[in-house]
Amino acid sequence: MKTTMGDLATPIPRRHWAKPLRGPTVKEMIPAQNAVVVSVVDDDESVRDSLPDLLRSFGFRAQAFTSGKAFLASNLGETHCVVLDIAMPGMSGPEVHAELKRLGRRMPVIFITAHGNPCLCDQLLQQGAAACLAKPFDPEVLIEAIRRATSGN
């Protein structure tokens, strides 16, 4: 049996990474004044570079932070939804989540992780996370999770 990288990471079912997309209109790509603001917190440059652009292309307003500390120091009231990396130097994603709860910030939290530990994900969902995605994730799944988590707002 051939073991692939996917197997190594986590037993996540195969997904279609690049399904045909309907392109957004220019109007859609310019975030509305009242658009949902998504904060991306990840120590990894690739994610910080790529994810905000993707989110913007779906009509969200996006901002990136290199650490949990930097994010917590920002104006938290501006963020409607936060995408948190789990394993980061300094404060970990779950620690940031706990701190948000302590501060009374009830914004939805979506965890992303390159370690892909299903047990940890279940635990985080139980502790109130809106979603937990293993990197590399299907962008549409992330968008769907953000939409679902912020639809109440």
Binding site: A87, A114, K135, D138
Partner: protein, 566 residues
């Protein structure tokens, strides 16, 4: 001490008389005073607390005291022939004879410890001292012999010496059969005329695991291994299951085992009395039984019970300690195995993380790029930027692989002279338990003239362990009884070559070309890293690692390292 002042040697009488009858008129001319003196002398030697014999200068018996006659159950006729009958224990006879003859010919005192047979056939230890009596001209006219019973002291000494030797054996982690065999010999030496047999018990049956009895033939001990632990089959069955001593004075006629097939087995080997005592831990767990046999019907004497109690105690220490060591070795092997798997697992997780990060960027960027191009109008500048980032992340992923290889070719390479045979033996010792439990026979065929190589011993051992465990995994599908691994070393084309050959499932030609690729595995639970790492290590040693298929199925993995000498 009163000494008879007899100046003329007298002849020992024939028949059952054990001493001169000075009153039967054979020497009627003896005056009353002399008779009186001789009677006094006889009364005196009869009162001595020991066995006394008075001998002529040539060693012929003249007078015996009552104690020696009562002890041996016979008079001078029996004792006169001590050199040819079994009054002296056969094991002590030669030394006694030599000592005695030397003393008689030199006319000097002697002292020897020997076993003397009692009237009921039991041998006891005696301290035998003899002194010559000389006439005025210096001629030896008499020998006075005094035998003192030292049996209790001697047995205590024997047991003590035996116990010391046994405890040393146990402390040096000698194999259990060797320890138990030595214990049997100590018991047999301490309690003469018996056979000792020790049966460790395998409670998974429960059965008698095996029988250790160095003084009994293999035809007796071999069939005992695996005997079910049933009370109606063997006394040990009752002894072990009920934790009680079981005494059968005569096993052949004992109604408790009249239907047991073991009865004939015991009889055919000339054994009669069977005493079985449980060997148990301080907590009362029965580890085995200690069996004493005698060739005639017998019950254990206090002496035997004392020896049995000491022997079962030592046996319990030996068995318990060895079982604890076995358990420890098993845990150690499992730990090694677990840590090996864990380190590979941890490595895989770290690789996964390192690769998933740029992969995530690639997927996100590529998606964003597509959306920007699909937009109306297309966002070309944005698409170019995301495409550029896709390339950057792709390069990052490939750098991870480069770093991974560098990791395997560690910079902290501990180069030293390595004896590959020795390194292999250490790995074999480490994995022997694990392989044994999996029913694998490991054969080593090491070339004694193997030159040393230059390299990192621990890394090479990781390779050997990896090859061994791979071979073991390849045997999972093979019938337990025929699982076999041959580890051999040889000199081939000026290189030290080590091969691990299994009779497992083997490799197809396609598999042969791929086995060394990272993440390629034929196992359901494998990571596909071991051989790739192994190859990196061997290449770092300027060596070569390859696989081949065996003519009779199975695979051989070999590595060759340049020898230090060439």
């Amino acid at each position: 001490m009163a000494t008879p002042q007899v100046t003329h040697p007298t002849q020992a009488p024939v028949g059952s008389h054990h001493r001169l009858d000075v009153r039967n008129g054979s020497r009627g001319d003896v005056d009353d005073a002399l008779l009186e003196r001789e009677l006094n002398a006889i009364a005196a030697i009869d009162g001595i607390p020991g066995l006394v014999a008075i001998l002529a200068p040539d060693g012929a018996i003249e007078t015996l005291n009552r104690q020696i006659v009562d002890y041996c159950g016979g008079g001078s006729e029996l004792l006169q022939h001590w050199q040819s009958n079994d009054v002296i224990h056969p094991d002590d006879l030669r030394q006694t004879r030599e000592t005695f003859q030397r003393a008689v010919s030199a006319g000097t005192p002697f002292q020897i410890e020997q076993r003397v047979r009692r009237h009921d056939g039991l041998y006891r230890w005696f301290d035998n001292r003899g002194v010559p009596v000389r006439a005025a001209n210096g001629q030896v006219v008499r020998w006075y012999i005094l035998l003192t019973d030292i049996d209790d002291r001697k047995r205590a000494e024997t047991l003590l010496a035996g116990e010391k030797q046994l405890l040393e054996l146990i402390a040096s982690s000698a194999p259990l059969p060797q320890v138990l065999g030595a214990l049997c010999q100590v018991v047999e030496k301490a309690a003469s005329d018996c056979y000792c047999d020790i049966h460790p018990i395998d409670w998974s049956g429960p059965t008698i695991q095996f029988s250790i009895a160095p003084s009994l033939p293999e035809s007796y001990t071999a069939p005992i291994a695996g005997t079910p632990l049933r009370g109606d089959l063997v006394p040990c069955g009752i002894a072990a299951t009920e934790n009680v001593q079981v005494i059968s004075e005569n096993f052949d006629t004992d109604p408790r085992w009249c239907a047991s097939p073991v009865r004939a087995h015991v009889r055919e080997h000339g054994l009669c009395a069977v005493w079985s005592t449980p060997i148990c831990t301080k907590r009362g767990d029965v580890l085995g039984t200690l069996c004493i046999y005698q060739r005639q019907p017998a019950r254990p004497l206090p002496l035997h019970q004392d020896i049995i109690a000491r022997a079962t105690h030592i046996a319990s220490i030996a068995i318990e300690r060895l079982r604890a060591e076995e358990a420890l070795a098993k845990v150690r092997t499992e730990l090694t195995h677990v840590s090996r798997v864990m380190s590979l697992g941890a490595l895989a997780a770290s690789i996964a993380h390192e690769v998933n990060q740029p992969l995530s960027g690639i997927v996100t960027n590529a998606n964003t790029c597509l959306r920007m191009l699909a937009a109306a109008p297309p966002n070309i500048d944005g698409a170019l930027e995301t495409a550029r980032r896709t390339i950057r992340d792709g390069n990052r992923a490939s750098e991870v692989i480069v770093r991974l290889r560098a990791l395997f070719q560690r910079k902290d390479f501990a180069a030293d002279v390595v004896n590959v045979n020795q390194a292999a033996c250490e790995v074999v010792a480490l994995s022997a338990q694990d392989l044994g439990r999996r029913g694998i026979t490991l054969v080593t065929d090491l070339d004694e003239n193997l030159p040393e190589v230059f390299g990192d011993r621990v890394q090479l051992q990781q390779v050997i362990l990896n090859l061994l465990l791979n071979a073991a995994d390849a045997l999972n599908a093979v019938d337990r009884a025929s699982r076999r691994i041959v580890l051999s070393t040889t000199i081939q084309d000026d290189c030290v070559q080590l091969s691990v050959c299994d009779n497992g499932t083997g490799l197809s030609p396609e598999e042969l070309t791929k086995v060394f690729d990272a993440f390629y595995t034929t196992k359901n639970d494998g990571m596909g890293i071991g051989l790739s790492v192994s190859q990196s290590i061997i290449e770092r040693h300027q060596g070569r690692l390859w696989a081949s298929t065996n003519a009779d199925g199975g695979a051989t993995f070999s590595f060759a390292l340049p020898s230090q000498l060439f």
